[in-house]
Symmetry: C2
Subunit: 354 residues, 2 copies
Amino acid sequence: MEMNIALLPGDGIGPEVVDQAVKVVNAVAKKFGHTITFEKALTGAAAIDAVGLPYPDETHEVCLRSDAVLFGAIGDPKYDNDPSAKVRPEQGLLLMRKKLGLFANVRPTFTFPSLIDKSPLKRDRIEGTDLVFLRELTGGIYFGEPRGRSEQGDRAFDTCVYNVFEIERLARMGFEFARKRRKLLTCVDKANVLATSRLWRETVQRLAPEYPDVKVEYEFVDAVAMRLIQWPKSYDVLITENLFGDILTDEASVISGSMGLMPSASLGSDIKLFEPIHGSYPQAAGKNIANPLATVLSASMMFEYAFDLQEEANLISEVVNRSIEEGIVTEDLAGDGKAYKTSEVGDWLAEQIA
Amino acid sequence: MEMNIALLPGDGIGPEVVDQAVKVVNAVAKKFGHTITFEKALTGAAAIDAVGLPYPDETHEVCLRSDAVLFGAIGDPKYDNDPSAKVRPEQGLLLMRKKLGLFANVRPTFTFPSLIDKSPLKRDRIEGTDLVFLRELTGGIYFGEPRGRSEQGDRAFDTCVYNVFEIERLARMGFEFARKRRKLLTCVDKANVLATSRLWRETVQRLAPEYPDVKVEYEFVDAVAMRLIQWPKSYDVLITENLFGDILTDEASVISGSMGLMPSASLGSDIKLFEPIHGSYPQAAGKNIANPLATVLSASMMFEYAFDLQEEANLISEVVNRSIEEGIVTEDLAGDGKAYKTSEVGDWLAEQIA
Ligand SMILES: CC(C)[C@H](C(=O)O)[C@@H](O)C(=O)O
Ligand SMILES: CC(C)[C@H](C(=O)O)[C@@H](O)C(=O)O
């Protein structure tokens, strides 16, 4: 198969972890006889520094002519602590999601047998956790208008907006996911307070009869924030709006034992995007110590979701598991064992595949 | 001292748990020679059923002529699953907070030595946790206008609004709290995306130089959702907006090992309100099984924050600790031991005080 992959390393540790995913993807391509071309492009602070914009048109073009996008991370503290900055790296990520029509972010949470004891949570609570969030990604308070400041500057506002069609397409995807899994769908909202949440709940209630094999639960976001830690095994598929999804999926990543482990896939159009759920981790940038596994697992999701190549996807997951079992891991997972460098982990994974 | 306390039991398990707090407050009054009068009033679904409104004027009057309000819980599933309901119990709680000017909700999270092993989190992660959230309670997306539906009904919207003065008064309270504690203040926002969050961050940055003894950290809400579980001991005082506070404080309550344990105080005007952070738990209503300790500890906060009676407050905390140590607890905490009834726990606590 021929595949053209847009590479958007972004900021902070993004370039380092994406490099390792490239090694792994190349090794897979070689083994299975695929022809892969990579095209690199700038996003985030890196793009602002170079051309003044966080998602330049040239980058968008690169994405448009690709079959899939592999993304690193975005964000730079020099913008975070300047609330008055006019251009900010994150706008690049949001614009990219919007312009590519990536309305659904698939974020699985699972455990690795050999890592369970690294989790801050007790073994019996998390062993066997296998849940997946579908986070709405191009609507809600991330994009709603109006947003900004009053003229005097003493008042700020954001708007959360949802259209029925946005909820419906995400919810349908959730029902389909649930069908292929344990047939339990949890709709996470704050319908006791928010008008948008009530539209979510109403829409999901309307669709439910079309999926009689799927059990639907409705739960408030605050309750989920609690149950996710107490009984993560009680969930299967969770659907939710953009901001709740942002918060809850980061929270859920704790279950796996390291933020450096959880991948994601952004779906919604022909061009799909794959990225780790962790951030740009600026303190570690350039030190060759960041954990590349979430990005490598995102490449595994890419083979599955973008190219329907399950065997390739599985092989990547397997070697990642093996690296964890054999302790070929970066310092966040090393414990008392040897801490490998980011690039060493990538090399090892690529070798194993070959 | 003479104290006039408004009692708002609310819905679900509210009446049962408030009853136990009343027993405890009466025992304290007797011991310390205070004269306490209680005046009961309706809120939530109970008030809708009786008079059609979730926070009737008569209830507001009762609050206004009180020295402090002791509140149970609000919410009823018959409204939750009817997104088109015109009146809903939660509106009562929101209206009450707003009309009483209770802009700051103080939600501590701590552990009980004898309960640490009940937490889903590992002992070494949580032992010694002592953090407190100040959640903004009368602004943000809970109250912002416009909110509602488009005419066709195919679009819903909510507005998050913050004025500088609302942020400033909460932030100042946060700085003052931090001063009396470990001098670390964490401002939780989503300033990389939201205009309101940027105003929060800007305002806190502007105030910080006035409190040079307090160290200020800024952290994104998604990162906090993670660190709160991973390293809860790394926090001291956290300030945040209404919705983030709702989600994160429920999440934090997991640390203590039961949702039935965490109290709260709502401050901002002469009349202060005290309530458990748990909900109305309708499945348990009327069964005499709900854990009353969060409400009893809210009464302890009442003596501290509303009446500045530290000795009384401490005594209540002590007997609560003792009940946990001696296993005089409801089924959620009983484990293999005997599960006491809600009313039995209340009786025991009152006896101990006497
Ligand atoms: C960087 C930020 C804008 C982004 C988000 O909030 O969506 C990130 O936290 C994520 O979850 O991908
Ligand atoms: C019942 C609900 C409206 C309320 C809130 O969201 O504020 C509750 O969850 C709380 O935290 O007190």
